[in-house]
């Protein structure tokens, strides 16, 4: 039976997901896992114009957000044809939605992105979500740290060939 890997993406983690997909695929490949990228989003409020008229109702907003997210993730995942990756978008409170996904997909691995959240409330929410996983037997929890939020990563100069690359080319120890 193939391993199943559920990747939990919350609002604002789209860039981190795209950036971290290489590492995700590397782990999935090693585990021979089927990957499901689950994008969890709160139910959006209707879009209004400046006169208070509804321009796009909740359903249309959900379709737009889901379409954008799923398409971006599919484009990022397209080069990795050897790993089965499916993308879904779920709307509602993250806790219950994650519970539904866990029951429906029955993953053996659950991956979260970015250990550090912005603000104490977001951290508390992440902690509560992860707690659901680590209390569940038979499910492994992986947290993928991506560096997009780090100031030093944003300041990074275009890299010259790193020392590691020379060692690797010279037939280094790895």
């Amino acid at each position: 039976m193939k391993a199943r890997m559920l990747v939990v993406l919350l609002e604002g983690q789209e860039a981190a997901a795209i950036q971290g997909i290489t590492a995700l695929v590397a782990v999935a490949r090693a585990e021979r896992a089927v990957v499901r990228l689950a994008y969890l989003h709160r139910i959006p409020s209707p879009r209004m114009d400046r006169h208070g008229r509804v321009v796009a109702d909740t359903d249309r907003e959900m379709a737009r957000i889901a379409g954008t997210a799923v398409e971006s993730l599919q484009v990022a995942a397209r080069p990795y044809t050897d790993v089965e990756i499916e993308t879904v978008a779920r709307f509602g409170a993250p806790g219950p939605e994650l519970g539904f996904e866990l029951d429906a997909f029955a993953p053996t691995l659950v991956t979260f992105l970015t250990a550090r959240a912005r603000g104490p409330l977001a951290r508390l929410q992440l902690w509560a979500l992860r707690r659901r996983i680590w209390l569940r037997p038979g499910v492994r929890l992986i947290v993928l740290e991506t560096a997009w939020w780090r100031p030093e990563a944003l300041r990074r100069e275009p890299a010259t060939t790193p020392l590691w690359e020379f060692i690797r080319m010279a037939g280094g120890p790895y």
Binding site: T22, A23, A30, A115, W134, V143, L144, A147, W164, P173
Partner: protein, 105 residues
């Protein structure tokens, strides 16, 4: 007499508490070091030698599970992939894995 005893208990309670806390911390740290040694040995075996994968383990506390950190330089995510199976089969219950791939992941 009783008030002297209460005063003595109150004055030494913080010291005793700190010692107990430190003992507990040392015990957890020892357990985490054993986990780290086990995982690192498995990673080294899986990658057939020393590699650029760094393994670090933090012991579990009451409010968070233990953490097994895997770090590689950017551009070397494939090493994580090769080592992940070796890591996951050795991670004990109550620990989770954190993968940190530097700036380029």
């Amino acid at each position: 007499m009783f008030s002297d005893l209460v005063g003595l208990v109150i004055s030494i309670a913080p010291v005793i508490g700190l010692l107990m806390w430190q003992t507990d911390t040392d015990r957890r740290q020892r357990a985490a070091d054993i986990v780290r040694a086990d995982i690192y040995a498995n990673v080294t075996r899986a990658l057939e030698g020393e590699s650029l994968v760094a393994v670090d383990v933090q012991y579990p506390t009451a409010w968070r599970p233990g953490q097994v950190w895997l770090r590689t330089p950017s551009g070397y995510e494939s090493l994580i992939g090769e080592a992940s199976r070796a890591v996951l089969e050795r991670v004990p219950f109550g620990y989770h894995v954190i993968i940190d791939c530097g700036g380029g992941s």
